[in-house]
């Protein structure tokens, strides 16, 4: 390709935050360029300013709170920050367009897909109705949406997540803009769906020679599609270069740390004594949800868990891996009887938990505790955290003083200062809250710990710390764990045995090394084939079991 001027040239961009924010600027003195025919990935964790920068390019910052106070953004030579409103509106959709993260909320729920795409054409072209519809159908087919002619009249809620995102891509590309900004477009999608969308991006970019500014937090995605990479931290670009350079030989320490924190897909080996006793056994568990109904109209029947069997030995970590809707969370809830399954048995130390009455169950509950996914919803906002941790033992008859001292000890175990026992959950970060959740689960000294996607809501660097903590605790206390996740990388590092779930059933079950080396079930193979960046080897490999790293 002949070198031509970049389609996007950001120079010294600074975006101020409102006075009540925790730092003065969202973006500080950021400069980067995007050539006309390449994909530039901007990577960073939450709070890095990458989304703010992306929106600044299209002047979509929420006025008046966020303002670009310095620098310039040259879109094909025009400085976006100094254009008139009318000219900016002309450019939007025509020369530059944007694809958002959450397609369900980014589309107007009361308008059809066709109407929303047509709006772009009606605004910027003089095409007639028939020609517009024709173009829309062509575009929908180009993004590989089935039944394009009918989809035009569909509403967003009638489509799946992946289909909605394809529709958004069609809407963004229909006027063939020179620059497309994609703000975490696959983060809200399942990994198999994500694979399709990423492939679509690559295909379209190559075919139409578009410049793509792709925002993401996932290095795997970067490895799969980027031509060049920019790494952002606290509003600054700390490193920028080609994909090979940044991913395989990162120069900046932050980039190095981030990449090191990405779990490798190579399972680490651990020895589980084959004669270790089974501490938890699940037999033929079934749970079906019934909704709607009445007066003979359609009752919706959703089989969430279909006859699942599994067993966890003492000290073993069993991973349940699956996408959304696979039933893995329902399975966890059924095991601790937060939800009552219709059929099956859950055996712990010879007792079938399913058969117990509510009162008897309460006594047995202490043996199996859960760490939940959402750090912002799993702690009572009105309780001090010391109290939160001590409450379990107190409820089971431990005297208050002893329970509180146990709470202090646990706080230190998870790497928090014991004085934080008097503080409220909102005073802690997401990673710290997960630690508190772990402390709470451990307070009852359970034999089995269920971790339901405990790190999915965390940034990758924090994720690594929490995973290290869990592994350390597990080894020290000889805990058995049921670890639920959708992320195969995490499963590789934490689990000894894996059960792959799909549509309520376990399709494959075995030692982690065996399954990762040669998956046998077609779905497992599909799952592995969809992990982004699976061909990329980490430049630096920190082995697991490094000491617990307090925040």
């Amino acid at each position: 390709m002949a070198t031509s001027s970049p389609i996007l040239d950001v120079r010294g961009l600074t975006v101020d935050l409102p006075p009540w924010a925790d730092r003065p600027q969202a973006v500080s003195d950021v400069s980067l360029t995007l050539a006309r025919d390449e994909i530039l990935c901007v990577v960073g964790e939450s709070g890095s300013g990458k989304s703010v920068m992306a929106r600044a390019v299209m002047r979509l910052l929420p006025q008046p709170h966020l303002r670009a106070s310095a620098g310039s953004i040259l879109l094909d030579g025009e400085d976006v920050l100094r254009l008139s409103d009318a000219r900016m509106r002309e450019l939007r959709g025509r020369r530059v367009s944007m694809i958002f993260q959450e397609p369900m909320t980014a589309l107007n729920p009361v308008k059809t897909i066709g109407a929303q795409i047509e709006e772009v054409l009606a605004l910027h072209t003089t095409l007639r109705k028939r020609e517009r519809v024709q173009r829309i159908v062509e575009m929908l087919a180009a993004v590989r949406l089935p039944n394009a002619a009918h989809l035009v009249d569909a509403y967003p809620h009638q489509l799946s997540g992946g289909q909605r995102q394809r529709a958004m891509i069609a809407m963004a590309l229909i006027l063939e803009p020179a620059l497309v900004i994609a703000d975490e477009p696959t983060t809200a999608l399942d990994v198999t769906t994500q694979k399709g969308i990423l492939a679509l991006f690559r295909e379209i970019q190559r075919a139409r020679h578009i410049g793509v500014l792709f925002i993401t937090h996932d290095f795997g995605v970067v490895a799969d599609i980027a031509d060049r990479v920019a790494v952002m931290q606290h509003g600054r670009v700390v490193e920028i270069g080609t994909r090979e350079a940044v991913l395989n030989a990162p120069a900046h320490p932050y980039t190095q740390a981030l990449i090191a924190a990405v779990p490798s897909l190579e399972p680490h080996a651990r020895r589980i004594a084959p004669d270790a006793p089974v501490v938890l056994r699940v037999e033929r568990l079934e749970k079906t949800y019934h909704s709607g109904g009445g007066f003979g109209r359609g009752r919706r029947v959703v089989p969430a868990v279909r006859s699942v069997d599994l067993a966890i030995r003492h000290g073993e970590t069993l991973g349940v891996v699956g996408e959304s809707g696979s039933g893995k969370s329902t399975l966890a809830r059924c095991i601790v009887r937060l939800v009552d399954a219709e059929r099956g048995a859950v055996l712990m130390s010879g007792v079938d938990l399913m058969r117990l009455s509510r009162r008897e169950l309460r006594k047995h509950r202490r043996q199996i505790q859960t760490v939940f996914q959402d750090p912002y919803g799993s702690l009572d906002p009105r309780s001090r955290i010391g109290r939160l941790i001590a409450e379990g033992p107190i409820v089971h008859g431990v005297p208050e003083a002893e329970a509180m001292s146990r709470a202090y000890a646990l706080l230190e175990l998870v790497g928090l200062d014991r004085r934080s026992a008097d503080r409220f959950p909102h005073e802690f970060s997401g990673g710290q809250r997960q630690r508190i959740g772990i402390a709470r689960a451990l307070a009852l000294e359970p034999a089995v710990l269920i971790a339901d996607e405990p790190v999915s809501a965390l940034d990758v660097s924090v994720q690594a710390q929490v995973l290290r903590l869990l592994a350390d605790i597990r080894d020290r206390l000889k805990l058995s764990m049921l670890f639920i996740t959708h992320d195969l990388r995490v499963a590789a590092q934490v689990c000894d045995t894996i059960a792959v779930m799909r549509a309520g059933e376990i399709v494959e079950y075995g030692a982690v090394g065996d399954i990762f080396a040669s998956p046998s079930h077609p779905y497992t193979r599909e799952l592995f084939g969809a992990v982004p960046g699976r061909h990329w080897r980490h430049p630096t490999r920190a082995e697991s079991h490094s000491p617990v790293n307090p925040t």
């Binding site: 929420p62 937060l338 309460r362 202490r366 996914q373 919803g377 009572d380 409450e391």
Partner: protein
């Protein structure tokens, strides 16, 4: 707690409303002792004396002191408003809470009942109840409580239902806590703010309902009430329109103050960035 107070005080409208409300309460409590010599029903002077004359707010069609009527009327309105709301809130919290927490048949039954109450025109029902049971303070409070209870129950049901599914409540259940403990220590405290806000607005509605009932003649005959004053003066609109105006203004100011406080409470308890 102090953060909440600070947010509330910064809201000038809410603060003003609070001051007005406190003034009205003060008048209601202390006022009668200033009128030891004359209750509101006593004939104080010639009828239809205009305000700002010999009597601060004039006299009504029978010669009763308007100002005394206002002061005693304040007591009535506040008393009935608060009492009715208290009962409605208690009933609503208990039924809505149980329905929202346990779901199932209990929830269905409750939904049916609130649907029924939603269908019944509430003011007409209140009229019926008071008319049939004979107007008195007790029956008015009962009638208003009966029609105010369903909205509170619906709100509490919604809150309990969503809180029940939050992970921290699930964690409590998984720890082996009894339902009573979970509800009282974890669920209820997290919806107290919504209950308070709704309760304050219920008080305002109760006062409006009470005044409408007494306007129509359905008030306790032994007690002076603002609505009654307006209703009694209705036939004299041409001659002394201020007799209708003044008590109405009192109602307006009181309800407005309560609404301002309620809005202020809502903003302070659910802080959201004002864009």
């Amino acid at each position: 707690m102090s953060a909440f107070l600070r947010r509330f005080m910064r809201n000038q409208a809410a603060f003003a409303g609070l001051l007005v409300l406190l003034a009205i309460v003060a008048v209601a409590i202390a006022g009668p002792s200033l009128f030891l010599h004359a209750g509101p029903f006593e004939l104080a002077g010639p009828p239809f004396s205009p305000p700002f004359g010999r009597y601060p707010l004039g006299t009504d069609m029978l010669g009763r002191n308007e100002l005394a009527g206002l002061v005693y009327g304040a007591r009535t309105s506040l008393l009935i408003g608060l009492a009715a709301t208290l009962f409605a809130t208690l009933l609503g919290v208990v039924t809505g809470g149980l329905a929202g927490y346990y779901g199932g048949a209990l929830d269905h039954a409750l939904m049916r009942v609130t649907e029924m109450f939603q269908t019944i025109p509430s003011f007409l029902f209140a009229i019926l109840v008071v008319a049939i049971l004979s107007p008195s303070i007790r029956t008015v409070i009962l009638a208003i409580a009966i029609v105010s209870w369903p909205p509170m129950a619906r709100l509490v049901r919604g809150e309990f239902r969503s809180l029940r599914n939050r992970e921290f409540v699930q964690a409590c259940i998984a720890m082996g806590m009894s339902d009573t403990r979970v509800i009282l220590l974890h669920v209820l405290p997290n919806c107290v703010s919504s209950i308070i806000v709704t309760g304050s607005l219920l008080v305002a509605t109760a006062i409006l309902t009470e005044s409408a009932l007494s306007f129509l003649g359905l008030s306790d005959p032994n007690v002076m009430s603002w609505g009654f004053m307006v209703g009694a003066a209705r036939d004299f609109l041409q001659r002394a329109w201020w007799l209708c105006a003044i008590p109405g203004v009192a109602i307006l100011v009181t309800v407005l103050a309560i609404n301002l406080v309620g809005d202020g409470l809502n903003d302070a308890l659910n802080p959201r960035l004002r864009h």
